[in-house]
Amino acid sequence: MVVSVRPRSGWESLDLGFQMARQWWRQMWGIWLAIYLPIAIVAMAIFPNKFYAFLLLWWLKPLFDRALLYALSRLIFSEPSGIRETLRAARDWMRPGLFLALTLRRFELARSFQLPVAALEKQTGKPAQQRRAVLGSRMRGTAVWLTVICLHFELIAMGALFAMGNMLAPSGGDIPEDGGGRDGGFDFADLMSWNLVDAICYAGAVTLIEPFYVAAGFSLYLNRRTILEGWDMEIRLRQLGNRLRSAASTTTVALLCGFLLIGSAPHTSHAATTEIDVEAEIERILDNPDFDQYKEVTRWRPIGKKKKKQQEEEPISQFWRNLALLLSDISQGLLWVAIAILVPVLLYVLRNFLPEQFARKTEEYEPPANLFGLNVSPESLPADVSAAAAQLARAGRLREALSLLYRGALSALIHRHRVVVHAGDTEGDCAEAASRALDKPGADYFTGLVGTWQQLAYGSSSPQLGEVDALCRDWALHFSTDESPAEGQAS
């Protein structure tokens, strides 16, 4: 490790971070510009109101920060990490947690301090939350101050770049206008409509500050881990251990094994996972004089109500109006996005709830000619199915008789009752479909017919002749093509 680690105060570790960014300025700003510059140019080209370009660039900061952090985490171990290496490892540093970082955690105040948990330790979900809590139990305040101060540094840098432009402009105070721009100087009321110069000043300011911010947060994180895990002691103890081992002439195999084990261990285990009595342990630690601190705080508190502020001045109200306009713009955009996402989702979900005939009517339905290996086209059937079947049954060919009845019934269902039956459906599916298309006795008859057919076809148990005869008689009642089923029954 080329950075000196020792337990430092919070401020001191921030300073070390600033030194880190200064030391490796080539890599830091190289990587930053390689990623930030193209996106900034595109953003500025897209949006006519450059305020949106600013918003986009601001919003994407965690993405850029990750690249810097990746490079830093390698540089402190003097591993090569130039622009090329970092860009090539983009898949590595973008995951995990980038989505959360850009949405829910975008407003995290200790952002650069907590970034390594997801970006370097690759932790997500509950473990990451616990890790952040442990790291942030001390020095979170310093990290928040870092963010606040760096935000102000950014504002100052932006103002300074702007002022510098003003000073150097030959016209003596005014920046030449570009299109719908305004004359030089910050105009509070116009805060929501930026011109190109504003956006460039912003991007320049962020470029100046952000690498320091990331490095300082990382340094604070390193310091926190140094305190929690004794990294500095590990390095020094290792030196001592090596000396002792090389000094000892009788280095036993056991010791060597131990050394090798230790050599591979430190990256894996530091969490406290002991099974001691937690309550007693907490008691014991809290008994330590370190925790024995009491502070008496006296504060003034207002008793009466505050007076109402005077009416707001003109530019302020203009500022609010602009802000409202901006917010309405953004929410409108978000609404369109939401609609674009919701409508397809809704359609997809509703598709499953539509009634079956509805949903499938759109497809051209063609009744199948074959079902379960049976030919069910009307042409293949005799004109009077029930009579033909009865004849077959009387001749003792029960199987053929039943098969004929079944085919006739299916054919009638498909072609006359327009029941939708697919080639892949089972007998049970057909019975169910039939029960919807036919009246109650018809459905009962069909179910019975199917049952008998199944018994015969799959169960190889022949039904009684009378049973088949009854089925033949009743077939005409329910499925006869004639207008008068009674006649069919008589024949």
């Binding site: 080329v2 950075v3 000196s4 337990p7 105060s9 401020w11 001191e12 921030l14 300073d15 070390l16 600033f18 030194q19 880190m20 200064r22 030391q23 101050w145 870092l146 101060i149 760096c150 540094f153 100052i156 840098a157 103002g159 300074a160 702007f162 002022a163 510098m164 000073m167 100046l208 320091f212 300082a216 305190i227 929690l228 895990e229 004794g230 002691m233 590990e234 020094r236 103890l237 001592l240 251990g241 000396r243 002792l244 081992r245 000094a247 000892a248 056991a254 010791l255 131990g258 230790i262 261990a265 430190p266 285990s269 530091h270 969490a271 406290a272 996972t273 002991t274 001691i276 330590n288």
Partner: protein, 227 residues
Amino acid sequence: MLDTARRVATPEGIEITLRVAGPVPRALGYLLDLVIRIAIMIAIAISVAVLGRFGLAVFLLSAFLLEWLYPVIFEVLGGGATPGKRAIGLIVLNDDGTPIRWPASLTRNLLRALDFLPFMYFIGYCSMVANRDFKRLGDLAANTLVVYREQKPTTARIPESEPVAPLVPLSLSEQRTLLDFAERSGRITPDRAAELAEIVSPLASGQNGTTAVDQIVGIANHLVGRR
């Protein structure tokens, strides 16, 4: 080794370590001083308001003096720190670690006018982050450093246990390491402490786990003279 500590040797041959302070704590210190100055100016403005034009003259004069001499007077007479710096724990010293005097303090504070340009110390900030000692232009001209005030040395709290004599002679820095470990072993997790103690297992006569930690703490007890 990248570090923020600077080693300075005094004429007596004593080496002291100065920990230079960076832009973030210094900005906070400046902010506090600014608030204090503004409060004082408001107080003056209120108290001289009844004096009319003479009051205005008094106010302008005191504002001028306050702006330019406030840091100088505190740095020279107030132990090297303005109230804001004191609150953050900073102190201004010469490069060689000696207390700052009038010429240096005047130089570094009058040059604030340059550091302030073009807007709120932007040049000062750029100079600070480009310099390995975090010097703004005023510090460069006056050869001064802003460092962290040394904390009162806290007495080492080494947990008491049966002292154990080390099996091999240890150098000063190695003794220091073991004392450090004994002191901090209570603040890191037991597993991690055992892991660290096992690194120097020859000292712990090849033992593992918490017994190794106890062994090292025993050696530390021996080193601090509890025999």
